[in-house]
Symmetry: D3
Subunit: 139 residues, 6 copies
């Protein structure tokens, strides 16, 4: 089994909050990340898929196929957007990086599997100091 990781980047605005809470309660729970006027990040996304390389090709998925899937399913929908207001797969969810990783996993899984590969890990770095990994429901 070989693991291949593609790194992509997107810039987005977001705010961590629950609509049913007051701004005060949100600020108490989520801190400065709950600023009602938004803030934003350069998110770095690492998508890892695994598979058995075909002997006549030396790979199991063309990196350009993987790149195109990530662009179609994630980057085009999220880059230079507002996570809370504009990103379809984040609707109704608190805009934490944790929830974002799970949503991107769900977004990518069917497309990756259609190519005969297995989705292994979604890693997102929100800043150079904070990052999240998700390996699917079983782990």
């Amino acid at each position: 089994m070989i693991y291949i990781t593609r790194r992509e980047r997107f810039s987005a605005a977001h705010r961590m909050y629950r609509e049913e809470w007051t701004d005060e309660k949100n600020l108490k729970v989520f801190g400065k990340c709950s600023n009602p006027n938004w803030h934003g990040h350069n998110y770095v996304l690492y998508v890892t898929v695994k598979g058995e390389p075909a002997e006549n090709l030396g790979f199991f998925i063309n990196i350009n196929t993987l790149k195109r899937i990530i662009k179609d399913k994630v980057i085009d929908k999220i880059d230079h957007r507002n996570l809370n207001l504009e990103v379809s797969f984040m609707q109704g969810k608190i805009a934490t990086t944790e929830n974002l990783a799970i949503a991107i996993w769900d977004e990518l899984k069917p497309a990756v599997e259609k190519e005969g590969a297995i989705l292994h890990c979604i890693k997102i770095s929100e800043t150079e100091n904070n990052s999240i990994e998700y390996y699917g429901k079983e782990y």
Copy 2:
């Protein structure tokens, strides 16, 4: 003359646009950076000051003094904020990184000079691929 550079980071939301233009015109001129729902970045700020080290100290400005000035004058006002709506020194300006570098220069210059140092350069990286430098009006 010795040059010392302090690197700091801040995360902010912004939008490039002119109020008197329609969203269409703004999008045409500024592209996706003009998204009305905002987007954001992890900005990296490099502040370079210069001076002659005092012989009995081996430096001309304590790095902690420089750090505190940048925190007080810039980071505390801009981190996890909206550049357009909330940052005092960006009011009435288009929120480009170019204007941000000039505004931060103006914000820091008096405080740096009060410490006997000379402000040399403000560098801001908006993404890993795009960065701006400003050396003051004379350069």
Copy 3:
């Protein structure tokens, strides 16, 4: 299960040696890392914890809580210190990065568990080329 990683940094002096050996023997076994006059590093520490995000929060541990635990239990005791002479949790141990990773694991585990999270991995980079990972006794 979600994995969250916090990156922190500390600068410290150290020396790899066994007290009961001569300097010659220490230098033969540990090389230049055994210099009796010490040397030092900018260590980079990555602490990974895991858990199930609470639905009403979107996370299982507040990153600021994790940051505070690492600061209290590790950084405040080790930054700008001598690993061999001053760091309580390294007393009586050879100051290798391997032993440091295990000691930091033991230091952090109870505090992380008190927050309802599971400590998953301690990774320490001693230089850009050398790093250590520890996943607890079972792995």
Copy 4:
């Protein structure tokens, strides 16, 4: 069990293609990576080995031993070379990073085991955006 990772770098030329295919077919399958006049990369290699630290040493393998093994078995044979024409352990294989990772695994495994350590992972970054991991046949 402790995991130690050594990072090394090498620069090499390569081309992805099958000899029995025409240039046209190769370009269709492998894209610009199949350029008949070659192209090249700064590859970054991460070798992870694991073991139980000896109590009287604080490590299970001297990092310099690991460094020497990687230099002898890999770097000296591959750095500033052509992967397709000159690298013994890539003969008869398509010069993908996937195949390279497997070949380097096979090259390093006996030498690492002779030192009493277990080879855990070969990771190769071909560019800052694309990387491959291999954990042996069982994973």
Copy 5:
């Protein structure tokens, strides 16, 4: 005056040598960089241009214009190519990074000036340890 820097990357094969010299002489002068079977790099290119921001725009050149110029004039001609055999602006020149920086300067200068900007610096990193800067003939 504001300085804006765009970072781009390209992967290429090359060889340092003089045709009129024997392989032996070339290897003696240029070392392993003269390997007749080629080697290659992930080059990182930094293009810095300067100008006075227009007050109604907040910039003097749209970063996307700069990006397009670099793509058209440099990246499309050099990425995944052989510097010696295939790159028009390197014909008849020894394929050092020094000569590459000068050639890219000459390639970009007219196009940058047509946009009303001034080309300030071409920086190329060949590896993480070696880089070249060129500021034009006058410096």
Copy 6:
């Protein structure tokens, strides 16, 4: 004129203090960097030299020559050492990065000039956030 920069690294212990001051006064002036038990860093050194490339070579100094000079004059004397106790060119000086940059300039200048090149800049990063540049007495 072409500028070439070589990056090297060294790990060292140090302490900022004046012998004639008490530990208390030293701690007040230099902060935690004055810890009497030492601390240390992974210093990153960037040496920039300039010159006119010879037409028949495509460079003005062989990067390996520059590398060897830096190794002989700096790295071999400073790596895995104590800046205050063991490094000849730091004797009698306060071990700040500012003084270190000036001392390394003085150490390298004659050797660089003997090769027909001009020393342009010594840059040292003490941590990822703090760095120093020195361009000689005239700047």
